[in-house]
């Protein structure tokens, strides 16, 4: 029982992070039918920016909570701006070009960000400060649940609920969904499609920056290729839930996290990726469009 609860919490923590990052992939894909390969790198850039503030301000006398809050705000703002720049520089000029050009541009942007991180922060693994957050641990039926885990799970749930509300219960959110279904008809409604695309490139990277910083805080490390590692997991979570579908990315992220945790906890952590991906392949064989995805509706 202890192991089970432990793995549920481990899985929810990692799953929440995957989901936060996966939302950026799925929102951009939904609106533009483009995989933004630079998204994972943007998220980890967020982690490095947060880390720099945390280490730079260490010993400034502010409490860990205040510093952490500042780190999140800074990372979110910078990465949201970076997302807009990415769209304007790497994708907008290719809007009418064929899809492969945009994919190449995305891969190029990914390499550019990754290498910039290496040039600025170096190739070494950076360690996140340990004493930022209370080391409180709760014992629940033999499982140890840390403060960081609870913080990550609660914030992920809150952020996802906020996003869901924005997308499904506001005017602009409905406009985003309409644009994802059919851009030309969205224009006939008076929707400014470029504005929708920019919004997606603000919201996705902003959530991703939080996810990236959570990765750093949870594993207490950051390195420049981390964008690929976690970007890949999140991308797979988006596919698992049905890429383009926002609740799908949330479900896919959490499921992938749980798969991972249970594979590590009950079988072997060296087999966790193999088992996770075997499950993923099995699910995609049964539902090729992902759990909540549907075949391109509205496209004739």
């Amino acid at each position: 029982m202890g192991t089970f609860i432990q793995q549920v919490f481990n899985g929810l923590t990692v799953g929440g992070i995957y989901a936060l990052i996966a939302l950026g992939y799925t929102m951009v894909y939904g609106v533009m039918r483009l995989i933004n390969f630079a998204h994972g790198d943007l998220c980890i850039l967020g982690a490095f920016i947060g880390l720099t503030l945390l280490t730079g301000a260490a010993g400034s006398g502010h409490s860990g909570a205040v510093l952490l809050l500042l780190a999140f705000v800074l990372a979110v703002v910078v990465i949201a701006i970076a997302g807009v720049v990415l769209e304007l520089v790497a994708y907008r000029p290719l809007r009418k070009a064929d899809r492969l050009s945009a994919v190449v541009s995305a891969l190029g942007a990914s390499l550019l960000i990754e290498n910039s991180i290496m040039l600025i922060w170096g190739p070494d693994v950076h360690v996140f400060p340990a004493d930022l957050l209370p080391a409180t641990t709760w014992s629940v039926a033999g499982a140890n649940i840390t403060f960081v885990q609870v913080m990550i799970i609660l914030s992920s749930v809150l952020l996802m609920a906020a996003l869901y509300f924005f997308i499904h219960h506001t005017r602009f959110g409905t406009a985003i969904r309409a644009t994802a279904i059919d851009q030309d008809t969205a224009k006939l409604m008076g929707i400014k499609v470029n504005q929708v695309i920019l919004t997606v490139f603000v919201v996705g990277p902003a959530l991703g920056a939080i996810g990236g910083l959570f990765v750093g805080i949870y594993y207490r490390e950051a390195y420049f290729t981390m964008g690929w590692t976690y970007g890949l997991y999140a991308f797979i979570a988006a596919i698992l839930g049905g890429i383009g579908n926002i609740p799908g990315a949330m479900v896919g992220g959490v499921l992938l996290g749980l798969f991972n945790a249970f594979a590590a906890g009950y079988i072997s952590s060296s087999w966790q990726d193999a088992i996770t991906f075997a499950l993923l392949i099995a699910i995609l064989l049964v539902r090729p469009t992902g759990l909540l995805g549907e075949p391109d509706a509205g496209k004739v």
Partner: protein, 238 residues
């Protein structure tokens, strides 16, 4: 002053000219029909007016404003709404969400008011307001596409093939609604393959053939014209 004036409009897809110099005018309060076979350029004309296609040559003026190079979203704000060919409802959004999006350029109270008017005109949409648009029948989707365009409270309503693929009884019902809409004073430019119904609704008509206007006359004269009868109404020359 005419509400819509199109002069010498040329629109091309790559090397292929779909419109080869089209000129026409629509007066305020009129219903004007564009007739023509498949591939004549009717949908191209509608998409060009709404700003979805770039123009190679010529001009479009609406309500005294040159909209030849105006973006699609601004054209909606100026007062042109379109019910596009194939209806193009947002299938995974509800009926009410579709209608509300039609009023995207307007305020919430204005939307509520127009929503009531559209539900009054199409009670079936009111019954299905929380249903996903993709689950509606073809006729209901057409009602939704027209209602969605009305939510923009347009000065000019563009209707692209509202009868396409619908059962005859549904076509009758849609055209009854269109007559109601015309009676409220909305100017209508309609593209339609059902020539007889379109000319009964319209005041005037233009015949488009491979990108050019070949006839322009009152609806009554077009209905009586031997050429139109032979080409579009299936009657032999007498």
């Amino acid at each position: 002053m005419s509400l819509l004036v199109i002069q010498d409009l040329v629109v091309s897809y790559g090397q292929i000219e779909a419109l080869k110099g089209v000129s026409l005018a629509v007066e305020t309060g009129e219903v004007v029909a564009i007739l023509g076979a498949n591939g004549a350029g009717k949908t191209t004309l509608m998409r060009a007016i709404s700003g979805l296609l770039p123009k190679r040559q010529g001009s479009i003026r609406f309500d005294g404003v040159d909209i030849t190079r105006t973006s699609a979203d601004r054209i909606v704000r100026l007062g042109i709404a379109q019910s596009p060919e194939g209806r193009r409802v947002f299938g995974t959004l509800t009926v009410e969400e579709n209608l509300t999006l039609g009023g995207f350029t307007r305020s919430a109270p204005e939307i509520r008011q127009s929503l009531g008017a559209v539900f009054g005109m199409f009670p079936r949409l009111a019954e299905r307001r929380d249903q996903l648009a993709g689950t509606l029948s073809g006729g209901e989707q057409q009602m939704l596409a027209i209602g969605r365009a009305l939510l923009a409270k347009p000065k000019l309503l563009l209707l692209d093939e509202p009868s396409l693929g619908l059962a005859p009884i549904m076509v009758q019902s849609i055209f009854r609604s269109l007559r109601e809409i015309a009676a409220t004073g909305v100017t209508i430019l309609i593209v339609e393959q059902n020539v007889r119904l379109a000319l009964k609704l319209a005041d005037r008509g233009y015949v488009l053939e491979v990108g050019r206007i070949v006839h322009a006359d009152s609806a009554a004269n077009l209905l009586a014209s031997p050429e139109v009868q032979a080409a579009y109404l299936g009657k032999a020359h007498s």
